[in-house]
């Protein structure tokens, strides 16, 4: 993105959106192939992706341009795509192919990278992890596949001409990370406060273009995706153990210190 004649050209922003099972409902794995049973609970937009959408909309409000949603997922993912469009995104690409079922994080990143090659973009924004798998590696792997800089765990994003700068929270301050566009940015929930969809945008959402893409359309090599070719394997799973009784701190003068130590040991403070 270069500055041409004063006014910078509008930005093409792509937001990666994943539909995940609602964390408020009981989630199940499918015993047949150890993959997530996506049909057994309501699908919602991965929470951190809402922050990514909001950040993209804020960038668009500031710099102009277009926000495109890219989502890889089965048919039900259209609900989450519609919600993202109702928040204000302009259009969407839905990558949907049976061959992708059971893909692990690396394969998903590869597939998303291929899908991204079908569109123009200056910046890709995504949530730093999803509430279902919680691997948190898709952003990094995607940047590798695309050969682009990655700016991870951003709690602030600024774009100035062709330069993108983020802040990343650390234990005792923050890092400033800078790169040239195009780039991949992953965001954390401190970055903003996602807006509610507005009814006008909900009404307009069905008129916004959603491009359907299958594996062939994205030139995805079927040998590189899907459960059979996954680089990782879910060997077994077990139900979460019932919640154990908590620790009771009896205050005999040192209660406050004990609680502070406990919180520090869990990295809450």
């Amino acid at each position: 993105m270069g500055v041409q004649g004063g006014r910078p050209p509008a930005m093409n922003i792509v937001v990666l959106v994943k539909q995940v099972p609602d964390t408020a409902t009981e989630r199940k794995l499918n015993p047949a192939d150890n993959t997530l049973d996506r049909a057994s609970s309501d699908g919602v937009i991965n929470e951190l992706d809402e922050y990514a959408i909001e950040e993209a909309l804020l960038l668009k409000e500031k710099h102009g341009g277009e926000v495109t949603i890219l989502s890889a997922g089965p048919d039900q993912a259209t609900d989450s795509i519609r919600k993202a469009l109702s928040m204000g995104a302009d259009k969407a690409i839905h990558l949907n192919d049976e061959a992708l079922h059971g893909s692990d994080s690396l394969q998903t990143a590869y597939a998303l990278a291929q899908a991204l090659r079908t569109t123009e973009f200056d910046v890709v924004v995504l949530g730093s992890e999803s509430t279902d798998a919680r691997t948190g590696v898709v952003g990094a792997a995607l940047a590798e596949y695309l050969g682009l800089p990655q700016l991870t765990l951003a709690n602030k994003v600024d774009i100035d001409g062709g330069t993108i700068r983020i802040q990343r929270q650390t234990d005792d301050g923050y890092d400033v990370v800078e790169a040239q566009l195009p780039a991949v940015v992953s965001v954390v929930e401190k970055i903003n406060e996602p807006r509610y969809p507005s009814f006008k945008l909900i009404m307009a959402a069905k008129k916004k273009p959603v491009t359907k893409l299958d594996a062939a359309g994205a030139e995805i090599d079927p040998a590189k995706v899907g459960l059979a070719n996954a680089t990782t394997e879910t060997v077994d799973f077990a139900a979460a153990p019932p919640r154990a009784a908590g620790t009771v701190v009896k205050d005999e003068g040192t209660g406050g210190v004990q609680i502070a130590d406990f919180l520090a040991s869990k990295k809450f403070v």
Binding site: Y196, S198, F199, I202
Partner: protein, 396 residues
């Protein structure tokens, strides 16, 4: 049919799966309002109710406006243009939190904005509707008077001509948002019959006083409007409104929202009671295990689901352009009474806890006293239904 095809057991919170016929937009609007109401309104509503007011009505109006809920089923002028069912769903989800919050939306969208949208001049529409839809301007609707409630035709507020101007004198009572409104839609008798006027706040001779010491609809602002020689230009009159039918048609719109809203209040009370009955232990068992409690719960499930179905059916008729006003009367009559039964039973299940603001049940029960009264009392709707099916009017 094998076991795999056995239908799933119904969801206790939506026993008849009433919402399965919603389309994608209606579903999105329901989810959005539910999410907004749960996160932004529910945490505060008990405090507002206790304080007997909405502390920041402008902030609330702006948030509602950003969502797009004001006049959402109207077309143009910044309104979202949704289906009537979508509007109903929004009312249902808001009133699941509190009737006062739904009233805010009803008065703005269905009463004040509908009056302007239906009966206003092009200039009046352009001046007020976009700002009202955005929540930047608040409207109220003044029909009721101290001596004229169920019989609004007996109103005493008068508008008389003075040259090309109008002079308004009278008092309006029980006006929701009256003292925070930027514009009051005021109905008055003239020599030609009942007419509507737009009275901007600050017009000389116009004042509004908050009504205190309410025991119902406390999370809502209710006011008296005083018109003392208020001079208005002819351009302040709603040109399309001639006769009592005009305000009554607006009331019919707001009443439609109530049909849905109280289904939400009923659902909230039922859910609270179900939760409480399952966890409160007496005589060594959860109180839900006693047959008398189960009878209450069974009655509640029926009332909650009947109310939801009634609302949806009336909504579908309305979207098809086939809803008669007596069908809306049916909905108000049936659903308010159902909600009152549910709230009463839910309150009893909560025991002493049920009389506090820690639980929603008495708050809803008290609110429903207002909801049963405004937009036509229970008796008035019984008479309306009676006339509709017997053909004999019994109002006077």
């Amino acid at each position: 049919m094998g076991d795999q095809h056995k239908p799933a057991a119904p969801d206790a919170r939506d026993f008849l799966a009433v919402d399965t016929s919603l389309d994608a937009e209606e579903g999105s609007i329901r989810d959005t309002v539910r999410d907004f109401a749960t996160r932004e309104l529910l945490p505060h509503v008990a405090d507002w109710f206790e304080a007997g007011t909405i502390p920041d009505p402008r902030g609330l109006a702006k948030a509602f406006g950003d969502l797009g809920v004001f006049g959402m089923h109207l077309e143009g002028y910044g309104c979202a243009g949704t289906s009537a069912v979508a509007y109903g769903l929004a009312c249902r989800e808001l009133e699941a939190v509190d009737s006062g919050l739904r009233s805010f939306v009803s008065v703005q969208g269905s009463l004040a904005m509908t009056a302007i949208h239906r009966y206003g001049s092009e200039e009046q529409k352009r001046e007020w509707l976009p700002r009202m839809a955005a929540g930047e301007a608040i409207g109220c609707f003044g029909l009721t008077e101290p001596d004229s409630g169920s019989d609004p035709g007996s109103m005493r507020t008068r508008a008389r001509r003075d040259g090309s101007d109008w002079i308004l004198d009278g008092t309006k009572m029980w006006i929701t948002n009256g003292s925070v409104a930027d514009v009051a839609v005021v109905w008055a008798t003239t020599e030609e019959g009942i007419r509507g006027f737009l009275v901007p706040a600050g017009t000389p001779g116009f004042s509004a006083n908050v009504i205190h010491r309410k025991l119902s609809l406390r999370a809502s602002i209710t006011s008296e409007l005083v018109l003392d020689g208020v001079r208005l230009p002819e351009s302040a009159r709603l040109p399309g409104a001639a006769g009592l039918g005009a305000p009554l048609s607006c009331l019919n719109e707001a009443r439609y929202g109530i049909v849905w809203g109280v289904a939400g209040a009923a659902r909230a009370c039922y859910e609270a009671a179900l939760e409480y009955a399952g966890t409160r232990v007496q005589f060594g068992r959860p109180i839900a295990a006693f047959q008398l409690t189960q009878r209450k719960i069974a009655d509640m499930v029926v009332d909650v689901n009947s109310a939801a179905l009634t609302a949806l059916q009336i909504g579908r008729l309305k979207d098809a352009g086939a809803c008669h006003h007596t069908q809306v009367s049916y909905g108000k009559f049936a659903n308010v009474a159902a909600a009152q039964r549910v709230a009463g039973a839910a309150r009893s299940i909560h025991g002493a806890n049920g009389i506090t603001l820690e639980y929603p049940v008495l708050r809803h029960l008290l609110n429903l006293e207002t909801v049963a009264t405004y937009e036509g009392t229970e008796e008035v709707h019984a008479l309306s239904l009676g006339q509709a099916v017997t053909g004999i009017p019994a109002f006077r």
